[in-house]
């Protein structure tokens, strides 16, 4: 399977944020997108998922050659796209289990028994070191920043998408939690042959993963692409390296 971003130009609130981004993510690949603040990383993530405030003016997004540009977010999710939100919303009154059950039921006709479902959630929570009590609460309501990020990864593990877009999964996490999240994501990718686009500012999370492709975005354009060695360059020189060509 393949998720292809072709010459994507995107406006939000009348301002062009993405100015011709192209990417190709195949099953099982781990891509990393890095770039300074305001360069368009989150806009790209939201556009792929179909955020109503992002307007594609030029270009397209394709899953296995078929355009998803006109599809609503839930249809994109059905094609296997999953976005881990940088700032997940809090919904008081919506139980985590009820939410996961509703989402799972919407994505697949395959029914899973309550006991098996709860077992799956329990195992996922244990792997992510999520306190059992959190699963019994309202979705993200009153969670710490780190707990919210882990809850996003738990959702990924339960919903089993084919393409995962991770928008700064490491921000707000302590050192141990970064390792737990990274290992869970990489493990998920390998076991499910999922394509992953990881957006991050920091190289620490990449120590626990095996990224194959690094992309650097600046001012709405991909300015450098390469393998893992590019991370060291970014660490050394910052995002100015893009100007080198």
């Amino acid at each position: 399977m393949e998720l292809e971003i072709k010459d994507l130009h995107v406006e939000t609130e009348g301002k062009e944020v993405l100015k011709g981004v192209s990417l190709k993510i195949k099953s099982g690949e781990l891509h990393v997108l890095m770039g300074p603040n305001g360069s368009g990383k989150t806009t790209l993530a939201k556009t792929i998922m179909g955020h109503p405030q992002t307007k594609v003016t030029v270009g397209d997004m394709l899953v296995d050659g078929k355009s998803i540009k006109e599809l609503p977010p839930n249809e994109r999710a059905k094609l296997g796209i999953f976005l881990q939100f940088q700032n997940p919303v809090e919904i008081e009154g919506l139980g985590v289990v009820n939410f996961l059950n509703t989402a799972k039921g919407s994505l697949s006709k395959e029914r899973i028994g309550y006991k098996d479902f709860m077992k799956e959630i329990k195992q996922g929570s244990e792997r992510l070191k999520i306190h059992e009590e959190l699963v019994g609460r309202s979705l993200n309501y009153g969670f710490s920043g780190g707990e919210k990020k882990k809850m996003e990864i738990l959702q990924m593990a339960i919903l089993k998408p084919k393409f995962v877009i991770l928008d700064e999964p490491d921000s707000g996490l302590d050192i141990d939690a970064v390792k737990v999240v990274a290992e869970n994501v990489d493990d998920f990718r390998k076991k499910n042959d999922a394509g992953v686009l990881l957006i991050t500012h920091y190289s620490r999370i990449l120590q626990y993963m095996e990224p194959q492709f690094i992309h650097v975005i600046s001012e709405g354009k991909i300015i450098r692409e390469g393998g893992k060695q590019l991370i060291e360059e970014i660490e050394r020189e910052g995002y100015r390296l893009g100007q080198k060509g």
Partner: protein, 409 residues
């Protein structure tokens, strides 16, 4: 006593002159047709209706009260016709004619009294079914002795096909250390008007929690007065309104901290669709000498349509400002678009995501109920209303997995 017509006019005049119904708040007040005559020829088989509801909702009711009859099968609930009532039994009632003419009016019209006296130390859960097959003015008197614990579910439904008025008047008193929760779930039909009055006084170290669920009736007007009248006690009111079509709701609640370290809270929430209207008036007063008191009003609303409207009017009066915590807030908005995007991004279709958001909002308030059965009943009714866009009809007891969450409160 003046004649009926004069009494009604006097009551309504007095009512209109109350601070909430005049001046600044006049435009936020809705009129109720209190002079509605009893429908002629009402011949609903109350026993059959009660049995059917009990079986469908899987609730065993301890008492059934209708416009024309009242039966209790539980010795903890005494029902009396007004002519059977010993005046001593209602001596010391909290509402007095001189204080509130509307209460006096309902009092004078009430055909039945429902009396729950909990003796010291008892722990009871009681379910009462109210069926209006005509006008239903009724008084409910709850007296919880020291250290008693009462959980009362009241379910209101309609059997009348003509216009009628349901007017429950609650008077609740708690002794030291008592704990009383009354869950009032309203699902009257679109011919019914609801006028609710409630006054509660909480004694030392006692708790009074009143949960109002307004889903039925074409128009609702309620006024609740709760005094946190003992040291280290607490009163809490949770009001949830779900309105569709042209339903109207005028919900006023007063809370007062009168003693040190007392706590008083109002949580009001409304979800409106169609051309529904709701005004939430929450008033809190922290009286002199209420050292260490806690007072809070929270009013929240969600508008599902362009033509629905919510007025949220929290108000506080703090006479004692030392060592008191007092807050109030109000917010109304359409469904949060970011939340909707989040839910749809997980594969949930737009319409289902909107419903999930609404039920989550309703659940916030229902989670405050201690009574599992009341919570289940209220959510079933509102889920059915959300699905079918009707109210006051037959509802199955199903919440479709909404409580797949441990109660965090």
């Amino acid at each position: 006593m003046p004649g009926n017509k004069e009494f009604i006019e006097e009551a309504m005049r007095y009512y209109r002159e109350l601070p909430l119904e005049s001046g600044l708040y006049k435009k936020y007040s809705i009129e109720m047709p209190l002079d509605t005559p009893d429908p002629k020829g009402a011949d609903a088989d109350i026993n059959a209706i009660a049995e059917e509801i009990s079986s469908r909702m899987r609730i065993r009711f301890d008492a059934v009260v209708s416009s024309r009859s009242a039966v209790s099968t539980n010795q903890d609930i005494v029902v009396k016709k007004v002519e059977e009532l010993d005046s001593a039994a209602i001596n010391g009632k909290l509402f007095k004619s001189s204080e509130d003419k509307l209460a006096a009016f309902i009092n004078s019209k009430a055909r039945h009294f429902v009396i729950v006296n909990a003796k010291s130390g008892v722990d009871k859960k009681l379910n009462i079914l109210f069926i209006n097959d005509g006008n239903l003015p009724v008084q409910i008197l709850v007296d919880a002795a020291d250290n008693s614990r009462l959980e009362i579910l009241e379910f209101y439904t309609s059997a009348s096909k003509e216009r009628s008025v349901v007017a429950p008047l609650h008077e609740i008193k708690t002794g030291k250390g008592a704990h009383v929760e009354v869950d009032m779930v309203h699902n009257e039909n679109d011919k019914t008007y609801l006028v609710g009055l409630c006054k509660a006084i909480a004694g030392d170290r006692s708790r009074v929690k009143l949960n109002f669920v307004y889903s039925g009736a074409v128009a609702t007007k309620s006024r609740n007065i709760l005094d946190s009248n003992g040291e280290k006690n607490g009163v809490e009111v949770n009001e949830i309104v779900f309105g569709i079509n042209d339903q109207k709701f005028d919900v006023s609640t007063f809370i007062a901290n009168k003693k040190p370290f007392s706590s008083a809270m109002i949580n009001s929430g409304a979800v409106l669709d169609g051309e529904a209207y709701c005004v939430m008036k929450g008033f809190a007063k922290v009286e002199n000498g209420s050292k260490g008191a806690f007072s809070k009003i929270t009013e929240r609303g969600i508008l599902l349509s362009m033509d629905s409207h919510i007025d949220a009017l929290p108000d506080m009066s703090i006479d004692y400002s030392n060592e008191v915590k007092a807050t109030h807030s109000a917010a109304t908005s359409p469904i949060d678009q970011e939340a909707l995007f989040y839910l749809t991004s997980r594969g949930i279709p737009d319409e289902a995501a909107r419903k999930l958001f609404v039920t989550s909002f309703l659940a916030r308030y229902l989670l405050n109920m201690d009574s599992g059965i009341a919570k289940e009943l209220a959510m079933s009714i509102m889920l059915d209303k959300l699905e079918r866009k009707v109210y006051g009809g037959k509802t199955e007891m199903t919440t479709k997995g909404i409580w797949m969450v441990a109660n965090e409160k």
